[in-house]
Structure formats: structure tokens, C-alpha cells
């Protein structure tokens, strides 16, 4: 069943005011999302420096790449032996190139896939408004910061008051 959004959202012009609202919401234990035209450390700190599992994905797939690089070259060299003078059949220095290249290849591609997939998963977990008004609001990729709060209708007045105290440009309730 598709989850529906219940809550409100507001747009801000100033980053310091947006950061203050986020800090207040975080301290209050509210479930919120932030929208921004670019990453800014002020917002990251205000959100409490959230972490991403991306490094683990890179580590696991990079490690697999190293293993696969050495394994493929060693196995195929033993499977079809190509003797070249007195050189070793399984040559670790030569095969290190494949270990390295496949580490970068699998690590890099998995990181990119991770960025896209984790973004989509978070989009599902942290639901955003589904209204036409929100979807047609295009300034979060341009010059405005947004704060989305998932809350009950009873909490809306308090959140709106907080946003207005930090000069929110517009507040929209969606219940």
C-alpha cells in the first residue's frame, strides 16, 4: 500500500533561518525533510551530521573487485597455461593491475548505483508532499530552501508558528 503524506511544508530564502528551523525541529523530535539547491555544511550540521551507508557499499564491492581480479586471472592462467620463458604462470605483480582495476570498477559503479538507490529508498521512507502545489514548486532546485514536516494536524499550529518566527515565505498544510 502506498504511504500517503500528512504534514506541512514551507519555503525559506535564507540559509541561516532554515538551519535554525531544522535545529528546533530536530531538538523537538519531529520527523522532517530538508530541500536545498545544493549541499551546505550549515544544513548538515543543523540536521546533526547524518551519516550515509555509501562507504560500506564501496568497501564491500571494492573488496569483491580485488578478489575477482586476482581470482579470474589466476584461475584462467592455470586453466589454459601460457608458459613464457621462466616466468611464473600465476604472476602476482602482473595480476595486481587487474585486482586494482576491478576494485575501482566495482567500487565506483556500486557507489553510483548506491547513490541513486539509497536516494530512492529514502524518498519512500521519508515521504514528501504529493500535492500539485508541491510538485509544481520548482525553486528548491533554484534558489529556495524547503522544510517538510510529517506531523499530525494537531501539531501543525506549533510547527507553523516556528516557521513563521524564522520568516518562512509560504507555509502549506496537507492533511
Amino acid at each position: 500500500m502506498k504511504k500517503t503524506f500528512k504534514g506541512m511544508w514551507g519555503s525559506f530564502e535564507m540559509i541561516d533561518e532554515t538551519a535554525s528551523v531544522i535545529e528546533a525541529l530536530r531538538k523537538d523530535g519531529k520527523d522532517y525533510s530538508v530541500l536545498s539547491p545544493c549541499p551546505r555544511h550549515e544544513l548538515t550540521h543543523a540536521m546533526g551530521d547524518p551519516a550515509s551507508p555509501i562507504p560500506f557499499i564501496t568497501l564491500i564491492f571494492g573488496g569483491l573487485g580485488i578478489f575477482f581480479g586476482y581470482a579470474l586471472t589466476s584461475w584462467t592462467s592455470m586453466d589454459w597455461v601460457l608458459p613464457v620463458s621462466a616466468k611464473p604462470i600465476v604472476s602476482i605483480p602482473a595480476f595486481t593491475i587487474f585486482g586494482f582495476e576491478l576494485m575501482v570498477l566495482l567500487g565506483g559503479v556500486s557507489t553510483a548505483v548506491g547513490i541513486i538507490l539509497l536516494g530512492l529508498i529514502d524518498l519512500y521512507r521519508k515521504r514528501l508532499p504529493r500535492s500539485v502545489q508541491f510538485k509544481s514548486y520548482s525553486r528548491f532546485s533554484n534558489d529556495r530552501f524547503g522544510v517538510v514536516v510529517r506531523c499530525e494536524e494537531s501539531e501543525a499550529d506549533g510547527v507553523e508558528k516556528l516557521m513563521r518566527s524564522y520568516n518562512v515565505e509560504e507555509v502549506v498544510r496537507e492533511f
Binding site: 530564502e13 535564507m14 540559509i15 541561516d16 538551519a19 525533510s33 536545498s36 539547491p37 545544493c38 549541499p39 551546505r40 555544511h41 550549515e42 548538515t44 550540521h45 547524518p50 551519516a51 550515509s52 555509501i54 564501496t58 571494492g62 579470474l72 584462467t76 592462467s77 589454459w80 601460457l82 613464457v84 616466468k87 604472476s91 602482473a94 595480476f95 593491475i97 587487474f98 586494482f100 582495476e101 576491478l102 576494485m103 575501482v104 570498477l105 567500487g107 565506483g108 559503479v109 557507489t111 553510483a112 548506491g114 547513490i115 541513486i116 539509497l118 536516494g119 530512492l120 529514502d122 524518498l123 521519508k126 514528501l128 520548482s138 528548491f140 532546485s141 533554484n142 534558489d143 520568516n167
Partner: protein
């Protein structure tokens, strides 16, 4: 930069994607014509056979491998700017990185064509890939040529990945501005990007890791390309200096190509406030630095050839500089300039002498002087690769095995076509995608604040 607002960035960059002037179509038509000449030349070679090229015993590697090394080298500056300068936090990077990264992708795509063209029977090129087959034959993983297959294909994949990931937020900005069919296309390409901070957190972390992976990759790829030569025993190739020499040369030529592309774009799109004098000057300084490394490598090669006492090395480097000695009269016209000699002098003039004016501040900040020097460097670096590839094969250990080489019209057509291929792709890219990174340029600006002092309250990274 402080007077530019976030909205200005979107406006200035996305404006370049509006309907272009007729001059643009003329330019693309010119590039496409060059591409067509190249395609026709390849078709002739496929139809008639490798005999139409000048490649023959003993010069088995000619213009195709020269072009391969040249284009791989061009690609390096893009990754250097997008990954290495990202890790070192070079403040001038965001304004040129998108164009440089696009240049990398198209240059490596161009380079990737040449091993295929060079093998002659393009339809058997898949034999280079280790795949399970009926006879359980496997490729030789100890061959530098196979190292190349893995290095170049990894480099192309990672460059495209890096390029595409960097584009996603900007595609979302495009989507939010576009209408009709364009909106539909950009919506699909933006893969659900909505500027939420969860996405930014994964993006910034992942981008850092991609940069960390791409940094050693960029140094490894041209090192591996250099080992195609250095692992052999041929005089002039069998030298340990090749890896750093090739990497420095790649950065040198790549940055010159970035300038060649970026300077006209800056003038046409009016991007002077983004690609500032400081940006141009910073690139000029890196070019000057790598020019010194390349000049040192040239001198070192000659010194070691003499100092080693190896007669074959000495003979080859004498041949590169002075042509045919009188004692070798039967093997060439003594007194006439040989082709490797011409290539050598062009290479030294363009790569060592032409960048010397960059020591002067006035030259580094004069965009058209920079443009002219960059063009010279592009020419010089092509001839450097030609000199390395061809002259060594012309004079190996055994005089009975010596020969001469001149590119044929088909090889020249394919070389012209490679420039057509590269510039056509770049021109189409500049028309369809933002050539400046919107989100990264914004990251470098001061964000709008009610209280200008407030940044300190939240601390800095």
C-alpha cells in the same frame, strides 16, 4: 563571485541550452563533416584491408596508436580536475569541471576506437575480452596490451559514472524549468532527484568516494598505457621514466585541451564571471608546471641514452635529433630532415618553448594568448606521441630490420575523423546539458543569510 545569487547561476547556465544561433549549426556541420571523412576512411580500410594504411613491417604501430595515446592523454585532465582537484579542494575547479569531465568521456570514447581500428578486423575485437568459449582459451593476462583493455574500459566506465552522477542534480534543475517533451526526458534522466537533503548526503559521500577511486585510476591508466611501450625491449621505449613522463604529458595536453574548449565557450556564453581570470591563471600554472616535467623527461631520455653507454639507445636518440648519420647513408637520405626529426622539433618547440611565456602574469591572464599556447601544446603533444611510437620502431637493434613510415591518406582521414568525432560529441553535449555544474557553482558561493555572522554559529567543515 560573491555578488552572484543562486538564481543567477540557474539563469546564466540554463540560458545556454536555449535555441542556438545559426553559427552553432555551421560549427556542428563542420565537425560532422570531419567525422564523416573519418567514417569513410574506416570503411575503406575495412573493405580493402590494412594495406591502405602505412603500417607495415617493421613499423607495426603508427598513427592509430599515436592517436590512441593522444586521446587517452586528453582525457586525463578531466579526471584530474573532477577528482584530484576535488580532493585537494581547489577553489577554481567547479567552473570548469563539467566541461573537463565531458571532455574526458568523449576523449576516452575517441581513444577507445583506435585499438579497434588498429586491429584491422574490427569484428574480432571481442577476442580481447576474457569470455568463456568453446575451447576454454583465455587471454594472456601478463600482456600489457590486455592491461590496457582493462585499464581503458575501467577508465571509460568510471568517467561516465562520475560524469552522470555529477549531472543528476543539474538535470533535476533542467526538469524543473523545462516543458513538454523536454520535461519528460529530463524527468527520466533525473532518476527521482528532488533536492532532498537525504539525497544530498548520499550524493556528497558517494561523490567523495568516487573521487577517491578515480584519483589513483587516472594515474594508473596512463602509466599502464606507457607500459605498452616500456615493457618491450625496443630502444627508446624500454625505460622506467615512461610512467611519470606519460602521466605528466597527459595532464599537460589535457589541460591545454580544456583551455581550447573552455575559452571559446566562455566568450560565446558570457561566462566571464564564472570562469574568471583566476581560473584561467590557475590552469596556466598547472600547464607550466607539467611543461617543466615534460621538458625534464625529454632531457633525461637523451642524457640516459648517452650515459648508459648502450649503443642502440645512443643510436636511436641520435636518429631522433639529427636524422641519418653519414655512416648509415644506405638507410636514408643523409642531410634531409626525417619525419621523426620534424616531429621531434615540433614537439620540443610546442611543449617546452611555447609555454615559457606563461611565466609572465600578463600572458597567464590574457585568454587569447592562452588559447594560442593551448593550441600549440595540442599539436606538440600529438607529435610527441608520434615521435615515441614511430621513431623507435624505425631503428631497432638490427639494421636489416630498419624502415621508414609515413601516414597514408586513409590514416590522415581517420585522424581527422577522430577530431570530428570528439568535437561533434562535445558540441551536442554543450547544447543538451549544462556545461557548468549548477549545484557545484552554488556550493562555492556565499549562501543567502539574514545574519551574515550566522555561519560561525554552525561552524565550518
Amino acid at each position: 563571485m560573491t555578488t552572484i545569487t543562486y538564481a543567477d547561476v540557474n539563469e546564466d547556465i540554463l540560458r545556454t541550452l536555449e535555441r542556438p544561433k545559426p553559427a552553432y549549426f555551421l560549427l556542428v556541420a563542420g565537425f560532422a563533416t570531419a567525422l564523416l571523412i573519418g567514417a569513410l576512411s574506416v570503411a575503406i580500410q575495412v573493405d580493402v584491408g590494412m594495406g591502405v594504411s602505412g603500417i607495415s613491417h617493421p613499423i607495426g604501430w603508427g598513427v592509430y596508436i599515436t592517436n590512441f595515446v593522444f586521446w587517452i592523454g586528453i582525457g586525463h585532465a578531466g579526471t584530474l580536475i573532477s577528482a584530484v582537484f576535488f580532493l585537494t579542494r581547489a577553489p577554481w575547479r567547479p567552473s570548469v569541471y563539467r566541461a573537463a569531465e565531458g571532455m574526458t568521456v568523449f576523449a576516452v570514447m575517441t581513444a577507445g576506437l583506435f585499438p579497434l581500428i588498429h586491429v584491422g578486423r574490427i569484428w574480432y575485437a571481442f577476442w580481447l575480452i576474457p569470455y568463456p568459449n568453446q575451447r576454454m582459451l583465455w587471454v594472456n593476462f601478463k600482456s600489457p596490451l590486455l592491461w590496457d583493455v582493462f585499464a581503458v574500459s575501467t577508465y571509460l566506465t568510471i568517467s561516465i559514472t562520475f560524469f552522470v552522477i555529477g549531472l543528476i542534480p543539474d538535470l533535476a534543475a533542467l526538469r524543473d524549468r523545462a516543458t513538454g517533451i523536454r520535461k519528460l526526458i529530463y524527468t527520466q534522466l533525473a532518476v527521482g532527484w528532488n533536492n532532498s537533503y537525504q539525497q544530498w548526503i548520499h550524493y556528497t559521500r558517494g561523490y567523495l568516494l568516487l573521487a577517491a577511486l578515480a584519483t589513483p585510476l587516472v594515474f594508473s591508466v596512463h602509466s599502464i598505457v606507457s607500459w605498452d611501450f616500456a615493457m618491450s625491449l625496443i630502444p627508446g621505449w624500454h625505460t622506467t621514466i615512461f610512467a611519470p613522463y606519460f602521466v605528466a604529458g597527459a595532464i599537460f595536453s589535457g589541460l591545454a585541451m580544456v583551455l581550447t574548449i573552455v575559452i571559446p565557450m566562455r566568450a560565446v556564453f558570457g561566462w566571464e564571471k564564472y570562469i574568471t581570470e583566476h581560473v584561467m591563471q590557475s590552469m596556466a600554472k598547472v600547464i607550466l608546471f607539467t611543461s617543466i616535467i615534460v621538458g625534464y623527461a625529454y632531457a633525461s631520455e637523451f642524457f640516459i641514452a648517452w650515459y648508459s653507454g648502450n649503443v642502440f639507445e645512443r643510436g636511436l636518440f641520435y636518429f631522433r635529433l639529427f636524422g641519418e648519420p653519414a655512416s648509415h647513408a644506405p638507410f636514408g637520405d643523409v642531410g634531409d630532415m626525417t619525419f621523426p626529426q620534424i616531429a621531434f622539433f615540433i614537439m620540443v618547440f610546442c611543449n617546452v618553448i611555447a609555454p615559457i611565456p606563461l611565466w609572465r602574469y600578463k600572458i597567464r591572464t590574457n585568454v587569447w594568448a592562452l588559447f594560442f599556447i593551448a593550441i600549440l601544446i595540442n599539436i606538440g603533444m600529438w607529435f610527441e606521441r608520434f615521435n615515441i611510437v614511430v621513431s623507435s620502431l624505425q631503428r631497432d637493434f638490427n639494421p636489416a630490420n630498419w624502415g621508414t613510415y609515413y601516414p597514408t591518406i586513409v590514416e590522415s582521414g581517420i585522424t581527422l575523423g577522430s577530431f570530428g568525432f570528439f568535437f561533434t560529441l562535445f558540441a551536442l553535449f554543450a547544447r543538451a546539458m549544462p556545461s557548468l555544474a549548477i549545484a557545484e557553482v552554488k556550493e562555492g558561493l556565499a549562501p543567502p543569510r539574514r545574519n551574515p555572522e550566522s555561519d560561525d554559529a554552525h561552524g565550518h567543515d
